[in-house]
């Protein structure tokens, strides 16, 4: 059933959807347990990395340590994500404080990120409301009618080396340093305040360990974490069979179950990513904390959709455009082989 916004009433919600509400209650105990088993080891590994750099121990060891540090930093980011949904701690103030602190560690202005992320939740899989908090996705029609320069820009943007390499670092390191279009005063202030605290941290490191060791330690951790973070965000909404719809047809349940993926990862990676692979469930009920997602999933057969795996997720790298007519993602190469026509090889297949 299409979303009934224009009709002015809430769409019908199935019993299993209502049943998921029982998992939405945040709890201090698992929250503090997660902070203890993640942030403390993270600080420990970072301290060890600083030690190796300042004592002139092989930088290869520092780089090796950056891998567990990256995993722990990514998991820490999930706590920020929960805080943004008001689901990590029971108190909004505690969530805001935690979100701000983790935001500094991850170069993410919490207030602005929260604002754009909630907009993403309100508009994901909606072709008429793209552009905030999502990976830019053009339809075939838009791409074909775009000037060459725009096509080239889009090509570069969607290239894996850009989107997961330079692009992800530019996003967190540079673009997040400035307010985005449409951001209101609280969001803008969160950007400036985060910037000031990051600058203060860099200044403090200059006065103590030195700027060079600071970047030798944090540089690789941030780079790998941003790359993998953007990859996660990418596979959550860019996969074959993904649901996109125009405003009038957009359906919340379909968007959640078919417009967001279930990325089934090996256990260690699932821990590192704080269950965010259960992304379809997260979109259905954003207030379920990461520490209850698996439990909610296990108890709800209606959300047991076909998962993406590490192997199948790699296929998503070839997807660049949404073919609105055929309701599927296609790659630049496929479009080129069809001679630019949307009815090319698919018809003969």
């Amino acid at each position: 059933m299409p979303e009934a916004n224009s009709a002015g009433h809430r769409p019908e919600r199935p019993a299993w959807f209502l049943g998921l509400a029982q998992y939405e209650k945040p709890d201090y105990r698992p929250a503090f347990r997660q902070l203890a088993n993640t942030v403390l080891p993270l600080l420990g590994v970072l301290a060890l990395m600083f030690y190796t750099v300042t004592q002139g121990i092989s930088y290869w060891l520092t780089l090796a340590l950056s891998l567990p540090a990256t995993g722990l930093l990514m998991r820490t980011f999930i706590f920020l994500h929960d805080a943004c949904h008001g689901s990590f701690f029971p108190s909004p103030r505690a969530n805001a404080a935690l979100g701000f602190i983790i935001g500094v560690l991850t170069l993410t202005p919490f207030g602005q990120w929260r604002w754009s992320h909630l907009k993403h939740h309100g508009s994901f899989a909606n072709l008429d409301r793209r552009g905030l908090g999502d990976i830019l996705t053009m339809t075939v029609e838009e791409y074909r009618s775009a000037p060459r320069r725009e096509q080239l820009k889009y090509h570069i943007y969607r290239h894996p080396l850009f989107i997961f390499g330079l692009g992800s670092s530019m996003l967190f390191g540079l673009l997040y340093r400035f307010p985005i279009k449409g951001a209101k005063r609280p969001e803008r202030n969160s950007v400036w305040l985060t910037d000031i605290v990051i600058l203060a941290l860099v200044a403090a490191s200059a006065l103590t360990v030195g700027v060079r060791p600071f970047f030798l330690v944090m540089g690789p951790v941030w780079f790998i974490a941003f790359t993998l973070g953007v990859w996660l965000f990418y596979v959550q909404h860019q996969f074959q069979g993904v649901y996109w719809a125009r405003e009038g047809e957009w359906d919340f349940l379909r968007a959640s179950l078919e417009g967001a993926s279930y990325y089934r990862l090996p256990r260690v990676l699932q821990w590192v990513t704080g269950n965010i692979g259960l992304h379809h469930l997260h979109h259905l009920r954003p207030r379920i904390p990461n520490y209850r997602l698996q439990q909610a999933f296990d108890a709800t057969p209606a959300v047991h959709i076909i998962p993406l795996t590490l192997r199948t997720s790699l296929h998503t790298l070839r997807l660049n455009l949404y073919n609105e007519e055929r309701k599927r993602m296609i790659g630049f190469r496929e479009l080129a082989h069809s001679g630019g026509s949307m009815d090319g090889p698919e018809q003969s297949a």
């Binding site: 002015g8 909630l118 508009s123």
Partner: protein
């Protein structure tokens, strides 16, 4: 009650948004295309303010518009 506003008939005078946790008048949701004036969430995330108050008796009868209220305060 504004009988011309179907949202008010369904949700009451104020709506709490499950997505961002803010409460706004039903009329404000209606004026925003039946989406949350703060975050743009659709009506699937809308709950009558009275329903949230039942779990949180300390919450005011009339919420401060734009303020974030926890689901379990």
């Amino acid at each position: 009650m504004d009988r011309n506003n179907p949202l008010e008939a369904e949700f009451g005078q104020y709506i709490w948004c499950e997505l961002c946790g803010t409460a706004y008048a039903s009329a404000a949701w209606a004026a925003n295309g039946n989406t949350c004036p703060n975050c743009g969430a659709t009506l699937i995330y809308a709950h009558p303010w009275e329903e949230i108050r039942r779990n949180n008796p300390r919450y005011p009868e009339i919420p401060v518009e734009g303020k974030e209220y926890a689901l379990y305060g």
